[in-house]
C-alpha cells in the first residue's frame, strides 16, 4: 500500500476557529483520517509525527519574534503550505494594532509591559514565506477546507470560486439589501465563500472573507456615502477582520 499523505496543522496568532473547522467536519473527519495521516495537529492529538509533511495548514498571523522564525521552519518541512483564514491570509483582526503604536496597546492590557514580547505589526504568512494557496474567511468554510485538503493531497487544483459575495447573493436569489433597503454592505468587494450568509439574514456583509481580486472599493464607498454612511463608519467597515489586505487597507486609508 502506498504511504498515506501526511497532514500538519500549525497555529500562530489566532482564535483557533479555523482549525476547529476541521474538527467540525463531523461527517467527513473519520473518512479523512482514513485517507491521510494526521501527523501533527496539537489541538486534537498528543502524538507528533516528524516532518516533512505533504500538506501544512497554517492558521494565524505573525506577531512575535519567535513566530517569525517558526514560520520559516514550517515552510522548510512542508511540501505544500495553505493558509487558512483571515489571520493567516491578511493578519486578522489583531492587525488593527498596525494602525497604532503597539506599546500603547501593551500598557492598556498589561500592568507589566516588560513581560510582553511582541512585534509592532501583525502580518500575513505570505509576507514571510511562499504560500501555495490561501483560503479566505473569518472563519473559513469547512466544506471548502475539505475540498482544499483533498485537492492538494491528490494533486489537483482546488475548486474554490473567486467571485464576490454579491454574486453568491444573486445566485441565492436574495433581494439586494443595499439597493432595496439601503443597508451598508461589502458584498460587491468581498471574496465569495460564505454563500452570502449575512444578506440572507437581513444584514450587510462586513467583509469577513476579505477582498476579492481586482475589486473597485472606491465606487462602493461612493455609493455608501450617498446612502448617508459616515466617513468614519466607511473606514471602520474596511478596517476590521481583513484590515491589512491591500485593497481594504488602501480604501480605509482613503477615509483618514
Amino acid at each position: 500500500m502506498a504511504r498515506k499523505p501526511k497532514l500538519a496543522v500549525w497555529k500562530f496568532s489566532s482564535c483557533d476557529g479555523c482549525q476547529l473547522s476541521l474538527l467540525d467536519c463531523e461527517d467527513e473527519l473519520l473518512a479523512l483520517a482514513g485517507n491521510i495521516e494526521i501527523a501533527n495537529f496539537l489541538e486534537a492529538s498528543r502524538e507528533v509525527i516528524k516532518g516533512p509533511y505533504d500538506l501544512s495548514l497554517v492558521e494565524g498571523s505573525i506577531t512575535t519574534p519567535h513566530d517569525l522564525k517558526r514560520i520559516q521552519e514550517v515552510r522548510k518541512i512542508s511540501k505544500f503550505l495553505v493558509t487558512i483564514g483571515a489571520c493567516a491570509t491578511a493578519g486578522g483582526i489583531q492587525a488593527l494594532r498596525n494602525f497604532q503604536s503597539v506599546s500603547d496597546f501593551i500598557s492598556i492590557v498589561y500592568a507589566t509591559p516588560e513581560y510582553i514580547s511582541t512585534l509592532e505589526q501583525s502580518t500575513a504568512i505570505s509576507s514571510h514565506v511562499k504560500v501555495d494557496f490561501e483560503l479566505h474567511g473569518c472563519p473559513i468554510n469547512k466544506e471548502q477546507l475539505v475540498e482544499v485538503i483533498s485537492a492538494f493531497l491528490f494533486h489537483r487544483k482546488p475548486n474554490i470560486p473567486a467571485h464576490s459575495v454579491c454574486m453568491e447573493c444573486k445566485l441565492a436569489g436574495n433581494v439586494c439589501i443595499l439597493v432595496s433597503n439601503g443597508v451598508a454592505c461589502l458584498g460587491p468587494v468581498t471574496h465569495a465563500g460564505c454563500g452570502a450568509l449575512c444578506p440572507s439574514y437581513n444584514r450587510g456583509c462586513f467583509g469577513c472573507y476579505g477582498a476579492k481580486e481586482n475589486t473597485n472599493t472606491s465606487s462602493l464607498s461612493n455609493k455608501l456615502y450617498q446612502l448617508g454612511v459616515k466617513n468614519q463608519d466607511i473606514q471602520k467597515l474596511f478596517r476590521s477582520y481583513n484590515a491589512y489586505t491591500p485593497a481594504f487597507l488602501k480604501e480605509s486609508k482613503a477615509h483618514d
Partner: protein, 429 residues
C-alpha cells in the same frame, strides 16, 4: 536522584498554545508554572473607538470555540449600558443559542480532548480505531450542538445573527421543529455519554475549592444572574471588580485572576453544578444521582461527568424552549445611544466570563475590560498541580507528565481566550 523536571513544551488537546513547567527537589514540588505563550492580541486596546454595535462580533474573535459566550456577554453589557432589557422569546432564543454552544463545546472536550486521557489514547482519532461507535456517537452529538448554533446564529463559528438588542433575523417555528427532531435523538446520546464517562477510573483527588458562578432564581445560569460563591458571596455583576482582581505574572501572557482577599477560585462546570444543582432539569438531576454523584463535585477529574450532565441539561432546555416558542414580532428592540457604563457576565462552557464597557454619546467604546474563564482558573490549575504531583513522584516521568497534562485538561483551558496560551515543563533536579 530524588529531583526531577516535568516539562511539556506544547500542551496538546487544549485550545491555544501553552506549556507546563514543574520542578521537584528532594521529593518536594518547588515550582509550578502554567505557561501561556499564546501571543497577546490586544482586544481591549483596539476595541477603543469602535462602534458599540461591532463589539459582539469583534470579541467573538477572541475564541473560535466559544464565540457565543463573548457575543452574549457583550450584548448584555451593552444593553446594561443603554438601560434596556431583552425579554420574552428573544431572551429564550439567546438561551437556545447558548445551549448549542455548550453542547458543541462540551462534546468536543468530552470526546475529543479529555476521554482519550482516561482510556490511554493520543487522540480521539486513535481511539476511533478501537471504539468507532463511541467516537461516531460523539461526533453526532457535537453536530447537534452545532446545528442549533447554525439555525439560530447563521453559522457554527462566529455566528453572524447576534446583535445588541436581539437578532438580525428570527428563526421560524418550523425551522426549530425540524431541529427538535435531531435534538431528541441527541438527548438519548447524551444520556449514553453520562453513563459511559461515569465508568472511567478517576484519580482520588478531592480539593477544597472556592467555587464561583452565576446563580439565577429560577434557571440554571446562562446569561443572567448574581455572582455567588461557595463561601457566601452574593453580588451584582457590576460589583465584580470590587471583589476580583487580575494580576500580571512573568511566565504568562494571560492575566491571573484572584479574589481581592488573595484567594484563588474556581469557575466552570464543577462550580456551576455545585452551586446550582437544584436548578437542573429533573432528568439531569435524576441521572446524576443514579450514577452515584452527590449534589456537589470536588474532584476536577470528574469534570468530564459534569460536562456530560450539562450536555444533557442543555438538550433538555433547548427542547423546552423550542416547544414553547412563538415567533417574536420584532427581531430586535429599539436602542437609544447615550454615554454610560455597562457590565455583563454570562456562563461560557468553561465558566463565568465578565465584560465591562464604557461608551460615549456616539456609542463609541472608550474602555473595555474582558475577563475570560481560563485566566480566572489559572491559579487554581497551578494549585491543583502543587497538590497532585507529590503523591505520584514514583511514577515514571512520561506517565507522570501525561497525568499532569490530564489535570490541566480537567479545566478545558482555552488559552486563546486567556490571552485574549498553554505549554508543559516537570523539572526534577
Amino acid at each position: 536522584m530524588t529531583s526531577k523536571t516535568i516539562k511539556v513544551d506544547y500542551l496538546a488537546r487544549v485550545e491555544g498554545e501553552g506549556g507546563l513547567y514543574i520542578k521537584v527537589k528532594d521529593e518536594k514540588v518547588t515550582e509550578v508554572k502554567l505557561k501561556i505563550f499564546e501571543p497577546p492580541r490586544f482586544f481591549e486596546a483596539f476595541l477603543r473607538g469602535r462602534n458599540f454595535t461591532e463589539v459582539p462580533d469583534i470579541t467573538a474573535r477572541i475564541c473560535g470555540i466559544c464565540p457565543v459566550a463573548y457575543q452574549m456577554s457583550a450584548v448584555h453589557a451593552m444593553e446594561n449600558a443603554l438601560g434596556v432589557r431583552v425579554d420574552g422569546q428573544l431572551r429564550e432564543l439567546r438561551r437556545l443559542l447558548y445551549c448549542g454552544e455548550w453542547i458543541e463545546s462540551h462534546t468536543l472536550h468530552v470526546y475529543m480532548l479529555h476521554a482519550p486521557d482516561f482510556l490511554g489514547y493520543q487522540s480521539s482519532i486513535h481511539m476511533a480505531k478501537d471504539f468507532p461507535d463511541i467516537v461516531k456517537q460523539g461526533l453526532e452529538l457535537k453536530k447537534a450542538g452545532n446545528e442549533i448554533v447554525r439555525v439560530v446564529g447563521g453559522r457554527e463559528i462566529h455566528p453572524i445573527n447576534v446583535r445588541v438588542g436581539g437578532f438580525y433575523k428570527i428563526p421560524s417555528k418550523k425551522d426549530l421543529l425540524v431541529l427538535a427532531e435531531k435534538l431528541k435523538r441527541a438527548r438519548d446520546l447524551a444520556l449514553e455519554t453520562v453513563k459511559w464517562v461515569a465508568k472511567f477510573n478517576f484519580p482520588d483527588f478531592t480539593q477544597d475549592y472556592l467555587f464561583v458562578s452565576l446563580a439565577h432564581e429560577n434557571e440554571y445560569p446562562f446569561n443572567e444572574g448574581r455572582i455567588v460563591s461557595s463561601n457566601g458571596l452574593n453580588i451584582d455583576i457590576k460589583e465584580y471588580e470590587d471583589y476580583f482582581v487580575e494580576e500580571h505574572v512573568k511566565h504568562s501572557n494571560a492575566l491571573h485572576s484572584q479574589m481581592k482577599t488573595g484567594e484563588n477560585y474556581f469557575v466552570g462546570p464543577l462550580a456551576r453544578y455545585s452551586l446550582n444543582f437544584d436548578k437542573l432539569s429533573p432528568l439531569t438531576k435524576e441521572t446524576a444521582l443514579d450514577i452515584g454523584l452527590s449534589k456537589t463535585c470536588k474532584n476536577p477529574f470528574q469534570s468530564i461527568i459534569i460536562r456530560s450532565l450539562e450536555i444533557l441539561y442543555a438538550l433538555d432546555e433547548a427542547l423546552r424552549i423550542i416547544n414553547s416558542y412563538e415567533t417574536p414580532e420584532q427581531p430586535a428592540i429599539k436602542l437609544e445611544i447615550k454615554s454610560s457604563k455597562g457590565y455583563g457576565a454570562t456562563e461560557a462552557p468553561r465558566g463565568m466570563i465578565y465584560h465591562h464597557y464604557k461608551i460615549d454619546d456616539d456609542g463609541l467604546v472608550l474602555e473595555a475590560k474582558i475577563v475570560p474563564p481560563t485566566s480566572q482558573n489559572q491559579k487554581t490549575i497551578e494549585r491543583d498541580l502543587w497538590n497532585f504531583v507529590p503523591d505520584r513522584l514514583d511514577l515514571p516521568l512520561d506517565e507522570l507528565t501525561w497525568q499532569c497534562e490530564q489535570a490541566i485538561r480537567n479545566y478545558d483551558p482555552c488559552i486563546s481566550c486567556a490571552t485574549h496560551y498553554l505549554k508543559l515543563t516537570l523539572d526534577k533536579e
